[in-house]
Amino acid sequence: MRTITIANGLSVSADAARPPTVVSTDQAPTPRRVSYDGQDYTMRRPQIHVGINERVEAGQVLFSDKKNECLRVLSGVSGTVASIDLGARRSLQKLVVKVDAPVDNDGYPLPESVVTGLNSTHGNDIRAALVAAGLFHPFRTWPFNKTPTPDSSPRHIFVTAMDTNPYAADARAVLDARKDYFRTGLEIISKLTEGSVYVCQAPGEPLVDPLPAKVVSIGFKGPHPCGNTGTHIQAISPVSREYVVWSIDYQEVIAIGEAASTGRFSGNRTVSVYSVLSGHQYLISSLIGADLHSQLGLSTDHSKVRYWSGNPYTGGYADYLGRFDRQVFVMGPDQHSRQPDAGLLQKARFRGSTR
C-alpha cells in the first residue's frame, strides 16, 4: 500500500492524538427527540414535506432541495414533528421529531425496488436507489463541497477512512465487525465513477483485503489535518473548476453496504465521546441527529453539563448530534471557551514552512 507523508499541520498533545481505549461499541438508548439541522445539508432552496404535529414514519421524506433532486432527507424514526425552525430567506434551521416508538437497532426496511437498484450493475440504477433510500446526500462534490447534482459524474471517489482530529475514533475499531458491509459498499460506489475509488486510511494493512476492483487503498501519515478529505484530494488528485471528484465518509459506505446486504436502512453511526470533566473516552453507537442528553444518560440540567457536537475546530455546543459529526465532548457549565479543550491549541505548535 502506498503511503503519503504530510509535513505541514498542527501537532496536538499525545493524549489528544490517542484514540479511545474502549473499543467495544454499546448501543445508546432510544432518543426522545431527533433533530435534523438544515446547515448539515447543502440546500439552496429547501422544500419541507411535513408540518408541525404531523405524524411521520421511519423512511418518510422530511425535506428536500428544490434545486437538487438528489438531496432528499428521510426520517430515521417514527414519531411526531415537534418543531420546524426557519431562518433567513426561508432556509431550514432545524426540524425536530419527537420519537414515540422504540427504534429498531437494525434500522427500518427499505422498499424492494431500492434493494434491487443497489444490487444492480448500472451506475444510474444505483444512483436512483441511493437517492430513494436517502443515502445519496452524504456524497460531496469537490470543489464546492455540496451534494452532487443528478447530471454530475466524478473523476474519482474518495472514501475518508481516518480521522486525525483530537480524541477522534480509530476507523479500524469501528470497521472491525462491519468489514463485509464496507466491502459491499465500496463495490457499489465504484460503479458510480469511471475512475478509481481511493480509500484514504491510516498507515498499515489495508482496511479490507482483498480490495474490490477499481478500489485503491492509500495510507496518510502526519499531523492534523492529514486525516481531512481536502488533504487527501490535494495529495492524490487536486481539483479545479473542471476537474470534479466526490468524497464520502466510511461510515456512510458501511450504511450503503448494509442497505444492499440486509435491505434495511440503519441510522446508527459510531461516535467517539470524550468527557472533559472526567477524562474518559469511549465509543457509542448513536442515531443520526439524536438527543444527546438521552443518548449519553447524563444530567439533563444545562447548569451541570453541556455537549459539544463535532470536532474541536468545526463543531459547536449542541443538544443534538449533527448529521456528519463523529465526536461528542461532554463539558462543564463553566467552560465558555471556543473549543472543548482550551489548552489544546496552546499546546499545539506550528510545523511546516508557512509560519
Partner: protein
Amino acid sequence: VTPLTNETVPLLRALICGDMETAEACGCLRFSAEDIQPLSVLCGGQFDFRELLQSCHRKIEDELSASSS
C-alpha cells in the same frame, strides 16, 4: 499550517476582501469548511473563514452556472 496551499495568508486576505480571483488563484477551491476552520481559530482576528469561504464558493458556482446557461 495547512498542506493545501503555500499561500495561506494571501488566501485569507482575499477571502476577507471578497476578491474571488485571488482567492481562486491561492487555491480556495481545494478547501472545505473543515479545512479552513482551524485557521479561524488560529488567526488573531475575529473572522469566520468558514462563512467567507462558503460565500466565495457560492459566488464562483453562480458564475459557473451563469456562464454554462
